[in-house]
Symmetry: C2
Subunit: 336 residues, 2 copies
């Protein structure tokens, strides 16, 4: 197990100027683009011990110290790899040196996945988010901060493109999710900068060998697709950041346009609306009935039925949600 | 030189039912999604002799025959490859059999490129579009039809993503361009279907060896990226078609929202507008001063300056276009 340094920076003053500046850049991104002031906040930090979350924990430790903020680390031991217990001990040691409380939970993800029939990746994800939700409540935290960075965002955009995600979802994961109270402060920071930050501080990190496993779609995207895009455009990561900004802007725009939508969308609203707005109104109505929903072919079918006044036409959506064309407009409902 | 068949279909009745249906599907796409009725139209057809444009010429020959439409083929001999003259003779022979007039022009693209300093690809493109513009005028054609298909669209989307094109440009090339009077009837048809169509009719096509040349970015995207996306999602081409439809819808939406924009956008308009609309208003004002302009970082800078009331701030855009923040709003101008 690599040694945790005997002392670690706990405030911006402890950092070399370049890296204090780096942390302030993260703070500015979170303030200006995600709308959250970090100073003085209570944050939970998802901390795997990998490069991303180690850099996140260190930068947030320094940034939240001002204004009396507090952070707590949350680590899930997935018990998937032989070195998982060592990872957990390393995580605990680093948090102790940093003066950050640390919640460590164990979950036998392989067994859980077998029992539920869900994949290992998905089961691990669910177990992590359950831990985060508990830590948010137990520690009265405002957000749980996650270590996703610009390279992750690029992979996410490529995976969404492959899967057929429409706009604005195609622009990638959100920087802030108020429903699950997630914050992604490093989302526009390239991974290479995180590595340079940790190298400067002499902080090692834990490598996750499963990141190399080409059976996972995400790892294939990382190993094969991203390098090809970088070959076509060495500034590809900048392009992804720019696309994400346009996506966030358009997400907000459509959010404003559909803010007042309910389970019934009257003809008076639909007949004034451009199809681009109508489809987003349907989508917003469905989202309000539970979990996200892409701009699917079914939404287009619903819109064609509405346009053709096919009163009584019924459309089924995932999550047992239903839309019906009535003589007054379109009505959405869910079984639950 | 492969033989041109001694007879070729000139109407839907000459086609096997499955392929008549295939042609009617193209007609329906052009009518419903591009807003153009093919029957009775006068069309120029860009005809290289390759698989795409050979399939396009054959299908349009059958579709336009009804209602007294007429087509004329336009072929540019780029004089880049040893077989270029043979290609041109083959093109002339096929048109003769099909009963379609054919305009063949020669351009020494390599020399032109050397003289102008532009790349060979770009010079060839310009020479082709100059030919199309002349044929449009000389033959009084409504549109020039081009053979771009769904595989081309997928490559285009990936190249735009690599380059950092924002939304809705990211969704790929338009199916219809009224400024240059272009029409792309095959844009949502997979290349494999075009090959099957030609195989059924026993029509050979000319292979362009330069399509294999990995020095061209487009060929690298075709050979490396598209197969990887197909590995992640075997229905990737369907995803691209769906994304394109959302893009066309949003393009139209923003077109409607910015329809009345002029060279001066008053504060009264800007202060009511969401940033997503303000950026599209700026873009529309710039587009009206000449050629397209992506949602660049400069547009964001302009918007920040407008928000901060930085009266007198000047922003330069490609094509010698300028935007100035004034006390009344934002004013756009071009040197010419």
């Amino acid at each position: 197990m690599p040694d945790v340094p005997s002392s670690l920076p706990r405030s911006l003053q402890d950092l070399p100027p370049r890296w204090a500046h780096f942390c302030l850049g993260i703070e500015r991104f979170v303030a200006e683009e995600l709308g959250v002031e970090l100073a003085g906040k209570r944050l939970a930090v998802g901390f795997s011990g990998g490069i991303d979350s180690t850099a996140l924990l260190l930068s947030l430790r320094c940034l939240t110290a001002r204004g009396g903020g507090r952070i707590v680390a949350a680590h899930l031991n997935h018990r998937l790899r032989p070195e998982a217990d060592e990872d957990a001990r390393w995580v605990a040691a680093l948090c102790a040196t940093l003066g950050v409380p640390c919640v460590i939970r164990e979950a036998d993800v392989a067994t859980l996945a077998e029992d539920s029939g869900a994949g290992i990746e998905e089961t691990g994800r669910q177990a992590r988010y359950a831990l985060y939700a508990d830590v948010l409540t137990d520690h009265g935290a405002d957000f749980v901060a996650l270590g996703h960075h610009l390279d992750d965002l690029a992979e996410d955009v490529l995976m969404r493109l492959a899967r057929g995600t429409a706009w604005p979802g195609l622009a990638g994961m959100s920087g802030r999710d108020d429903t699950r109270r997630l914050l992604r402060p490093l989302l526009l920071t390239p991974k290479a900068e995180l590595a340079a930050f940790l190298a400067e501080l002499g902080v090692p990190w834990r490598e996750d060998a499963s990141n190399e496993d080409q059976r996972w779609s995400r790892n294939r995207v990382r190993a094969s697709l991203v390098p090809l895009f970088l070959r076509e455009n060495p500034s590809f990561l900048d392009s992804v950041a720019r696309l994400w900004r346009v996506g966030e802007m358009d997400r907000d725009y459509w959010g404003v346009q559909t803010a007042s939508v309910g389970e019934r969308i009257p003809n008076a609203v639909l007949s004034k609306a451009h199809r681009a707005l109508r489809l987003r109104l349907y989508k917003a109505a469905l989202d309000r009935l539970g979990s996200a929903q892409v701009l699917s072919d079914t939404l287009w079918g619903l819109d064609r039925a509405w346009q053709a006044h096919r009163v009584g036409a019924v459309f089924q959506f995932p999550g047992e949600k239903t839309a019906v064309v009535t003589s007054h407009g379109v009505v959405f409902s869910a079984k639950h």
